[in-house]
């Protein structure tokens, strides 16, 4: 029995749960939604590292492997389910099932990708993730959410097509559908396309705006759930498939800096957090590019801790949005007076993301930086250290400062509901627990790490970096004053470009269409109609002119007769004599033709 139970892919548990969720109501549904991911967490812990079940696919292909269990997939499985359980506790206030059903499908699909051992299974789950996450966004049911979902779907269709093209080329050239690490030395168009497909979901430069565009338009819970899975699934696929691909180091560094710049510019608190995801994922993408055991282990540790503190930050922002209905920094401020617990927990998340000692960021992100030191990658190291300082600026201080302190805007919301506080409390506890006792986390990493976070030297340098960053923030505070503005991102190209393209197509193609319609339907048809109406009489009149001239009529009389003839022809009202005459003439012509 247990042998059979451990053959069940964790994703199927959540898919089944999505069906059951539709049948449940009220409190029972809320409790079920927390218990299900918690049970799936336990289920994952019971999965053995032995060869998983195989499913026959097409005759010429290898069998599908929907459940590949190793330390890498298990580590992501743990954090995905743990985060889901706490997120659904936070979401106790949600009355409708729609969003939760799609969230379960989405999380299940993310688990499907994590445990997929072959490219076909991976692709199917990959697309299911894109579809289900779109429903999570659209569930907020505002016009802006619908428009953002449309753009989100377009970008992910593009990314999915890149991935599909890459898979088709790779499978047809190598003959294998297995998803293992690709060799950088043998890079070809197929593997580059797969990498591009993964990078779209990782929010890499030029493909990042779907994230900062769509996530902040999702509901309070929707944004929270979305923040954890799509990008981190992409990180997993990069760690699995592309370790040591050097361009990823550069891409990761660009992401880390780009995220900071835009998070500093942004006014909407949830958009600050969205850009902050890009910054954090940059560290992980960079680690995949370094590709050493230490870097990979560091990226997994960082992903694990990042999901916890980033969820915590989205929860505190969500609680504020839930209570005030506002998410712009220019509308918020002074909330420490009435939402102290939300501030406390959100503050712990802010400290953790900044890698302050005694928090989980300090014991995880710093492994990646240590890996750059070991590999003597000076520029990568320098940029990641700068980005670490920048994280403290935008997420560590800016977010809590402008929301909870700054200028009192007269808002006096109630403290967040109890279930929200419990969820935040659990994650805040984990942030500190993993900061003090990281060994538990280190034990589940794919490679053993020989890393000591707490050395005197490390503590001093980290505190110098952070304290002086904080000093700069407060010295430059007048410069950082929020403005009620948005910042143009890559989405400008398809938002404005899309409209321009539409106008261009409208002007050109519809212009041609209109011209053709005018010429054919209006002018030509009218001309044909006129021709058919008047031509026979005109021709007849023309033929009769020599006859009329023969019988001695002058030009005025001829014109008069001709006009009369045309008028009669139009009315179809010839005197019988003329009709009979015409018929005789016709017969005569036919007779003559026949004779000839």
């Amino acid at each position: 029995m247990t042998a059979m139970l451990t053959d069940i892919p964790p994703s199927l548990l959540l898919f089944a749960g999505a069906l059951i969720t539709m049948l449940l109501r009220g409190r029972a549904r809320n409790i079920f939604l927390v218990v299900l991911p918690a049970y799936t967490f336990w289920h994952i812990s019971q999965l053995s590292f032995s060869e998983g079940p195989k499913m026959e696919f097409l005759p010429t292909f290898d069998a599908l492997e929907p459940l590949r269990v190793d330390k890498l997939s298990k580590a992501f499985g743990y954090i995905f389910t743990l985060n889901a359980a706490v997120a659904f506790l936070f979401a106790f206030y949600v009355k409708k099932a729609f969003q939760h059903v799609w969230a379960l499908v989405y999380i299940g699909a993310a688990l499907g990708v994590i445990f997929a051992g072959d490219l076909i299974t991976l692709y199917v789950y990959w697309e299911l993730m894109a579809i289900s996450s779109a429903f999570v966004i659209i569930a907020r049911n505002t016009l802006r959410a619908k428009q953002a979902t449309f753009r989100y779907v377009m970008v992910h269709i593009f990314g999915g097509l890149l991935l599909l093209a890459g898979i088709v080329m790779t499978v047809s050239s190598s003959g294998s559908i297995a998803f293992d690490s690709f060799d950088y030395a043998d890079a070809n168009l197929g593997t580059w396309l797969i990498l591009a497909g993964f990078l779209v979901n990782a929010a890499a430069p030029l493909f990042s705006s779907w994230l900062s565009d769509a996530y902040p338009e999702a509901s309070v819970t929707g944004g929270l759930i979305l923040s954890a899975y799509t990008t981190k699934t992409a990180v997993y696929t990069l760690l699995r498939g592309f370790p040591g691909w050097e361009p990823l180091m550069v891409i990761g560094c660009v992401m880390a800096v780009f995220g900071i710049m835009y998070a500093l510019l942004e006014n909407d608190m949830r958009r600050i957090l969205a850009y902050s995801i890009i910054n954090q994922v940059g560290f992980m993408v960079c680690a995949a590019g370094i590709g050493t055991k230490m870097a990979i282990a560091g990226a997994v540790a960082h992903a694990f801790c990042h999901i916890i503190y980033k969820s915590l930050l989205w929860m505190s922002a969500g609680a504020v949005l839930y209570r005030t209905g506002k998410s712009r920094c220019t509308d918020l401020g002074g909330l420490y007076k009435t939402m102290p617990w939300t501030l406390l927990f959100g503050g712990i998340g802010a400290l953790a993301i900044s890698a302050v000692p005694l928090t989980s960021g300090f014991t995880s992100k710093t492994i990646i930086i240590a890996a750059t030191e070991h590999e003597k990658l000076f520029w990568i190291w320098l940029i990641l250290e700068l980005a670490s300082a920048g994280v403290f600026l935008h997420a560590g201080i800016k977010f809590p400062y402008f929301v909870f302190f700054n200028q009192d805007k007269g808002l006096r919301p109630k403290e967040a509901p109890k279930t929200m506080l419990w969820a935040m409390g659990i994650l805040a506890f984990l942030c500190i627990w993993l900061g003090i006792r990281p060994q538990m986390l280190y034990d589940i990493l794919p490679y053993a790490v020989d890393y000591k976070a707490y050395t005197a030297s490390h503590l001093v340098t980290q505190m110098q970096l952070l304290m002086f960053s904080a000093l700069v923030f407060f010295l430059f505070l007048p410069l950082l004053k929020r403005t009620a503005t948005i910042s143009l991102d890559v989405d400008w190209f398809y938002r404005k470009g899309g409209v321009a393209f539409y106008r261009l197509m409208d002007k050109s193609l519809n212009g041609i269409n209109a011209k053709v319609a005018d010429v054919i339907a209006v002018r030509y048809t009218a001309w044909l109609g006129r021709f058919l109406r008047t031509a026979p009489a005109e021709i007849l009149g023309g033929l009769l002119v020599p006859y009329w001239m023969g019988i001695g009529l002058n030009s005025d009389e001829i014109a008069g007769r001709k006009a009369k003839l045309v008028l009669r022809a139009k009315r179809g009202a010839f005197p019988v004599g003329i009709t009979a005459c015409l018929a005789v003439m016709m017969l005569a012509i036919i007779y003559l033709v026949a004779l000839a």
Binding site: K96, R144, S469
Partner: protein, 101 residues
């Protein structure tokens, strides 16, 4: 004593702000002074300079903020740039209406 409902406004007081500023300067100074007492093992040479991380944090963040201001001049737009602020007054379903808890 009668004002038991007086709001907690410690962070708004000028005296508290002065105290926080002093604490921040103090923490900065302490972090640099502490470096005298630890044995560092630099990897690149440049990171062995005394107070390197303090300088990195200070200069790095200053540069980033100035870059952000420059970038802002270029990419900042008004909120209705995309003409999608048409329903700003609509309260989405997921906002607490003040009654539910």
């Amino acid at each position: 004593m009668a004002q038991q409902k007086k709001e907690f406004d410690w962070f708004d007081r000028p005296s508290s702000r002065r105290l926080l500023w002093r604490l921040l300067w103090g923490a900065c100074a302490l972090s640099v002074v502490a470096e005298l007492f630890v044995h560092r093992h630099p990897y690149f040479g440049i990171d062995g300079i005394f107070g390197f991380y303090a300088l990195l944090g200070f200069i790095g963040c200053t540069v980033m903020i100035l870059l952000e201001k420059g970038l802002g001049k270029w990419v900042k737009r008004s909120e209705d740039y995309y003409n999608d602020h048409i329903e700003d007054d609509v309260i989405p379903e997921d906002i607490d209406d003040g009654h539910a808890d």
